[in-house]
Subunit: 354 residues, 2 copies
DNA sequence: ATGAAAGCGCTAACAG
DNA sequence: CTGTTAGCGCTTTCAT
């Protein structure tokens, strides 16, 4: 590890002027190494352009002084902050976890730091957040879902920063796009359950825009297959607050069963809701999947370990993260982006619950 | 909403020089409003120091131009980045969710943006991460747990940035501290289960430092109460990879029962593990809590909805987040910090599983 | 391969 | 209450 023992600055010496942070600057390192500041800069940002011996001397000076570059200054001078802003509903959602992990990892490998801004599921603070993010001059912006607000779109376009929208599809992206179709997921689940001889499918969903579109897709698919109309004209639905919880899953099943006892399958907008449904079914002695089939969404790590194991919709989160990062990195390095619009698709993982 | 229609810059006009971002600067706004740049700065940062009429004119100019301040420049000039760095094992852990939410909320209300850096549970990248974080010159740093690495401590101290360690206790904090004792939790759980006439307590834990200290506390407590030694000399333990999952909870119970069939209570290092234990118990027809009592940790939102409802250790996460933020905000504003070292304690929430 | 000069866009400090 | 001046710490550009 670095040697940072020599003359720690800060309170120790105290620079003359009243401004400045009182820390080691690039000029201090340069003086110690007997070179110009720009050479230290090159050692840090383009070491291959510096002679081996100079490199060594400068690096020693860096270690001796404990110099840590000031990226505010560097970013201001170069117009490259090495910062990526990611707008997410909430950082804690397990559904996105693998995506943000891969995103962060990919960016990190290219020298960028990803900073998250939480919009909340309503997206109320989205506009304000975009402004404060742009104020930090990120080199790229990653959005969860499609940006609908016109003012938000305008700001992003005018900021002239590479933007990737993710986790959804639209014919009119702001810039780049990596996602999949929520409607198609719903339709595919309807088809899947129809294949399992289920004829009365219900939905338990969180009040989140994309979840509702999956529900809509299910209704479309069910109608097309003629199964939604066998016993009733519409798909029974229970809507809970976002994000979905085990508790709302339980409540959802109770409510659904009371209103529509003929229901024989439930499509949940998240695996957590699905787990709640199965726990409630268990408690009531309702056999899953025989009496009621359960399909989740997200394929979270616990889906394989529930009883019965959960059949669920799986999306390649890491791929979304990686591809989104790649888009922005390519753009930042002046390369043309191979695939600025990508549909990563989805799959239904068949287990025991449906 | 803002009016950002007038002459969007960027590609449109193209400034003469080759440098710069080509965006609206404070001088553009100043010119349009007929004031000096510093006045625009004041409108943004200290509006009460500007005459009402001037304020209005400048604000109109800001809206007309769509000006978004450049915080890299502002931060460099003022030595205040309005950025807070939070180092966390992983942003997705539900155990910390409420803490980071409250932290972000409190900082946000004071004009700071919180950026997260993920160290991983092993803490391997911690040192490197500290360096890259310091490079952005945050106004404060929040750590999850205690910083053990000497080089990390040195860097933080030399950076001369306010630091709060959280979610743990130590007699030698780097700077400020908001946490609780993991050992005491373990001891309290031992006492609690002893009160429930349990005499053979086992532990299922993730391989995470603080979780292991809770387990150690349990062993200490059990030994002191004389219950660990009634049937065997040590507390049976199952250690899973961090973070704990439903699946490892199930595996843990299977393993424990095979090796120590006399076990009558299990303390899990997270509610997710506990849920796994209960699902496995359910599948095997083992009555909880009669045959085996289960205690979790975290009091996650689903704990109240499991069957049986989960008895678990609850920590006031939001309080930790709020207090940690307050410490740094007070320090940043030159105020003395009322309580630089806080023990927020914990409680055992009694439900049905134990 | 290295350096000198000139800013990046903003705000602290000191007038007035 | 408002303005002038001089940087913040770094990197671009252009020379050598």
């Amino acid at each position: 590890m670095d040697d940072i023992s020599a003359s720690p600055p800060g309170h120790t010496e105290g620079r003359r002027g009243r401004r400045g942070s009182g820390k080691v600057r690039i000029t201090d390192v340069a003086k110690l190494a007997g070179v110009a500041p720009i050479t230290v800069s090159r050692v840090l940002n383009a070491p291959s352009s510096v002679a081996a011996e100079t490199l060594r001397r400068v690096q020693e000076a860096i270690n001796r002084t404990g110099y840590v570059p000031n990226m505010l200054a560097g970013g201001l001078a170069s117009s490259r902050s090495h910062l990526i802003a990611a707008l997410v509903p909430t950082i804690a959602s397990p559904v996105f976890q693998a995506t943000w992990e891969a995103l962060t990892e990919t960016f990190s490998g290219a020298g960028y730091h990803v900073t998250f801004g939480q919009t909340g599921y309503g997206g109320a603070r989205e506009d304000e957040l975009i402004k404060t993010m742009i104020a930090r001059r990120p080199d790229g912006i990653v959005l969860t879902g499609i940006m609908h607000s016109p003012s938000g779109r305008r700001r992003l376009i005018e900021a002239d920063i590479p933007v990737v929208e993710t986790w959804d599809l639209t014919p009119t992206p702001i810039d780049m796009l990596v996602g999949f179709s929520h409607e198609h997921i719903g339709e595919a689940v309807a088809k899947y359950l129809h294949g399992k001889k289920k004829i009365r499918i219900a939905v338990i969903t969180a009040a989140d825009e994309r979840a509702r579109r999956r529900a809509k897709g299910l209704a479309t698919g069910a109608a097309r297959l003629g199964i939604a109309t066998i016993l009733a004209p519409e798909v029974p639905m229970f809507v809970a607050a976002a994000p979905g919880t085990l508790g709302s899953g339980r409540k959802g099943l109770i409510d659904l069963l009371a209103r529509h006892p003929e229901v024989d399958a439930v499509f949940c907008s998240s695996d957590m809701l699905a787990l709640g449904v199965m726990i409630e079914a268990q408690a009531r002695g309702i056999p899953v999947p025989e009496r009621i089939a359960v399909v989740g969404y997200g394929d979270l790590n616990f889906a394989v370990d529930t009883v019965p194991a959960l059949t669920t919709v799986s999306v390649d989160g890491p791929a979304i993260g990686r591809l989104a990062a790649r888009c922005i990195i390519d753009r930042a390095q002046g390369r043309s982006v191979a695939e600025p619009i990508v549909d990563v698709g989805f799959s239904i993982v068949e287990r025991a619950s449906a």
